[in-house]
């Protein structure tokens, strides 16, 4: 009897999960046809089938929420894999002043809006995080699609993304500690512990990264996959025990892996990441009431507008420092507008705060707008720049070359 009942439940769960995942597959096809990232479409799908949506699915919540958490871990893990410690160092050398401008302008915009809306300061800090971080996933795809990887403003953009991701390694654990809260002393201690744990894992990662990579990187695909996946969960779990966000643990594991292990892990884990991350985005917007989203839509639009301007200013400033001309500066600025996976990860942190539902809805709306409009704007960035500067001479403001060979 128990078996029979169990199998019906399982059948329903399979049908529900299957329908959702199959639907996401279709959405991802649509997204690549349209040449945009699938994240906004996943969010819309979650809205449609979540609380108060068109049709409610009651997929086993435990299962889906665990899968969603794993999605965040894998998103950050593969992000850490993308960078070698060499690249991190060179990013740090050149990127700190633009990184600070980036933080002040863009995190400032979100934080200010949170305060204007009368939110708890912590929720405002989270909204600052949402509007701060550009989406490295969307941006690297856009740069590749538009064949801009060789452009001179591109290293500026990529360095800025590195700095943002590194800043997240501090921001996320600190904010996670603040959310746990308590008295001032307790909070100070938990923030201190969080930073100490991050430093500790980072030191281990840099010190033992090479021997670890050699061990993990050899063997069959199966052993690499299981070994790496297990390690990511272990480190994330250990970090979580200390109230440090597990995602940062996963990010640091990604940084630690080098060479062959890095290559193989990226190849083997990317499909897993795509599966679990899609679950995360859907689950995130599952919990958003579309009515809430409509209520904050105006604010989301306003924040998108302001933070688009601040990102353009950031890119403009950062590119000018490296001697890039006007059009290049504008391209750097517009390509940075897209926000994505990180903004959602940050908003998800605040789900249990008093202003959590509003924060989630605003972040979802905001990412929907910027992830779709950003890539479009940057595609036409040269035309827009030409129109804006119609009455002014094009190109660099500096001395023009005297003779140009035909």
């Amino acid at each position: 009897m128990i078996l029979a009942a169990g199998s019906t439940d399982t059948a329903i769960a399979f049908l529900e999960v299957g329908a959702v995942v199959f639907g996401l597959g279709l959405l991802s096809r649509v997204a690549s046809r349209l040449g945009i990232t699938a994240v906004p479409l996943y969010l819309i799908a979650g809205l449609a089938f979540g609380d108060g949506g068109l049709a409610e699915l009651d997929v086993t919540e435990d299962f889906v929420s665990l899968a969603a958490e794993i999605g965040v871990l894998l998103l950050l893990f593969t992000l850490g894999l993308e960078y070698s410690d060499d690249e991190l160092r060179s990013g740090l050398r050149t990127g700190v002043p633009p990184g600070l401008v980036d933080m002040v302008l863009n995190a400032g915009a979100g934080f200010a809006l949170g305060m204007i809306l009368g939110w708890d300061p912590l929720a405002a800090v989270l909204l600052g995080g949402v509007s701060w971080v550009s989406s490295s996933g969307v941006i690297s795809k856009v740069l590749d699609d538009l064949a801009r990887l060789g452009n001179r403003e591109t290293p500026v953009v990529l360095d800025l993304l590195v700095i943002e991701d590194l800043a997240m390694a501090i921001y996320l654990p600190v904010v996670a500690a603040l959310i746990v809260g308590g008295t001032v002393t307790e909070t100070t201690i938990s923030v201190g512990v969080a930073l100490a744990v991050v430093t500790f894992i980072l030191m281990i990662a840099l010190r033992y990264g090479q021997p670890l990579s050699r061990r993990l990187g050899s063997g069959s695909n199966e052993s690499v996959l299981l070994g790496v996946f297990g390690l990511v969960l272990l480190v994330a779990g250990a970090a979580q025990l200390f109230e440090v966000s597990g995602a940062i643990g996963a990010f640091l594991v990604g940084l630690a892996l080098t060479g062959k292990a890095e290559e193989r892990a990226l190849e083997l884990m990317s499909p897993l990441r795509d599966l679990f991350a899609a679950t995360f985005f859907v689950f995130f917007s599952f919990q958003i009431d579309p009515a809430d989203l409509l209520e904050v839509a105006g604010w989301a639009l306003l924040l998108a507008l302001i933070s688009a301007l601040t990102k353009v200013a950031t890119g403009w400033y950062a590119a000018r420092r490296r001697g890039v001309g006007g059009r290049g500066r504008f391209r750097a600025g517009t390509v940075l507008i897209a926000r994505g996976e990180f903004s959602i990860v940050i908003a998800a942190l605040g789900a249990d705060l008093a202003d959590g539902p509003e924060l989630g809805a605003l972040a979802a709306g905001y990412v929907l707008i910027t992830a779709v409009v950003g890539p479009l704007l940057t595609r036409f960035s040269d035309q827009i720049h030409a129109r804006v500067t119609r009455n002014r001479p094009l190109g660099r403001p500096g001395p023009q070359p005297t003779a140009v060979s035909p």
Binding site: L149, R152, D159, G328
Partner: protein, 160 residues
Amino acid sequence: MSEVRETKLPGVGVRHEFTSEDGTDVAVIVHHDGRRELVAYDHEDPDSCHSLVHLSEVDSTTLGQLLGISPVTETVSRIRQVIEGLALDWTQLPPDSEAAGLPIGHGEFRTRTGASIVAVIRDDVPVPAPEADFVLAAGDVVVAVGPIAGLDTLRTMLGG
């Protein structure tokens, strides 16, 4: 060889760029996964480029062969990437080299370029760690280690 400028593209790879003799800026983007992309910069907007061709690892070797570059160069470029700021390079002394017939110490290469001559290969026989009084001859292959700029200077001084 023209001066090659190298820029790291975090998460993507490395961009090697040089200015051709007719004044066009050309770059090769080496992706982490081994793909390469050959791009040329716009005259009107020097910050933007157009992609000329995408090459797989095998394609790049083929193109390299067609252009008359030995596969050795690729190995060297790999080594260059491994040790940042330090590279290994070699050059053959042409018959008219000013350094031929003179001892290594005479050229004061290390003082003037920062690059050290670590070996000389004469008639396929390597002479590791040659002393300062080792007399160079035309046709010698000089192997040196040092900063990339220093190696380029050394190459010019040897007439290679």
